[in-house]
Symmetry: C2
Subunit: 225 residues, 2 copies
Amino acid sequence: MLALIDTCQATVTARGRLCACLEPSALGRLRAVTADARLPAGEEVFVEGQDAEYLYGLRQGAVMLTHRLADGRRQVLSFLFPGDVFGFTAGSRHMCSAIALQRSSFCRIPLSALNTDSQLAARLHQIARACLADALDHAVRLGRMSAKERVADFLFRMWRRMGEPDELQFPFSRVDIADYLGLRPETVSREIASFRRNGLIGPLSSDGIMSVLAPSSLQKFALPR
Amino acid sequence: MLALIDTCQATVTARGRLCACLEPSALGRLRAVTADARLPAGEEVFVEGQDAEYLYGLRQGAVMLTHRLADGRRQVLSFLFPGDVFGFTAGSRHMCSAIALQRSSFCRIPLSALNTDSQLAARLHQIARACLADALDHAVRLGRMSAKERVADFLFRMWRRMGEPDELQFPFSRVDIADYLGLRPETVSREIASFRRNGLIGPLSSDGIMSVLAPSSLQKFALPR
DNA sequence: CGATACATTGAGGAGGGTCAATCCGGGTGG
DNA sequence: CCACCCGGATTGACCCTCCTCAATGTATCG
């Protein structure tokens, strides 16, 4: 019965838990219209400019939203984890691409469901407002924080987002992180090395796992909330 | 009758025109719950951390949304003009402050109206998604564009937003622009001076009015859309 | 007319970008 | 099993964009 109430095997997050916030009848309607899908790492859920037909709820894996300029420069707009909902658009077309960073599974919610199910629509719009808040926070980071602050804030938020583990294992590359933070990969590397020298994080093991030694020191650089 | 259909004296914009998109009966319900207000320049519509009770529709004037870091650094998140709707929140509290840049008038829409009027709610959520798109665009600018590109893009978008006039008259200071673009006011001044030397904009008259001579040249720096 | 606030301009410096070399782990094939 | 290669991460050297600090210009207001 619990499994029925929350069909997404999602970690509990402020933004996520689409299913958990719906009453059983609404959940039934949701299940009736959603379809599941899987993608291997590197594949696109949707691409910029494509007609938007669905919203997406990430069940397992990780996804990033990216926007590309004409000359190839890329900005990563968001990293998404299980429980997160994505695919919101202003008009009829996607304004960014969604790329699976790992083998991922997600459900697709037809946009038409927004017109027919007001409780579902209200919940999804609440999530859209949370995405707006995230985007504005990100603008603050990109506009007003130094490279060191951006990297520390990023490590801290990822650490918290992943359940405050002793060891962080990222599904994304240095280039992805750099494109998210508005920096170059070399700068990200240097800042991480600096934190390691200062004992805020442990030595990097061979497979990219890093231990978080002093989360509170990282948090000093982070945006509140 | 036209006045009844659109009670906001707002310029036509993609994001705005809340009233114009509502059918007459919904508009009547909207008018029944909204209240009007005015503010002089410099006053706050709401401040960060305050409990959110309303959404706001700007009728006349100009407003900016700002976020402050603990040490005083400020990021301007958005400049708003007649027709724009603002005050969207993720939780129960405002995540930014809204400051009138000019004497402004606006209407207040109680959040409770979102629960009782689904057509109004749908329209406001559509606007919220447009705000999300704007915020993501802004992240691209802040993360991946040079100072020259940011200023050119800003001038071009303001020029277009204000109806492509021959002369631009801003209601905000260089500091406001700099805090919006993630730059220092000196840098904004220098880039504007550079555009003036290159003939993209005319000489600055004493009262801050600038003429736009080569919008298409400015547009080359701008983000599409 | 001075005082204040804001914009502009200049000189110098620092943070982060650019380019290149090196390292390292994993896959591939002999 | 090992040599080779390849992609990503790291590190170093150098440079450029943008910031910092200060001086000057300009408009508004008492």
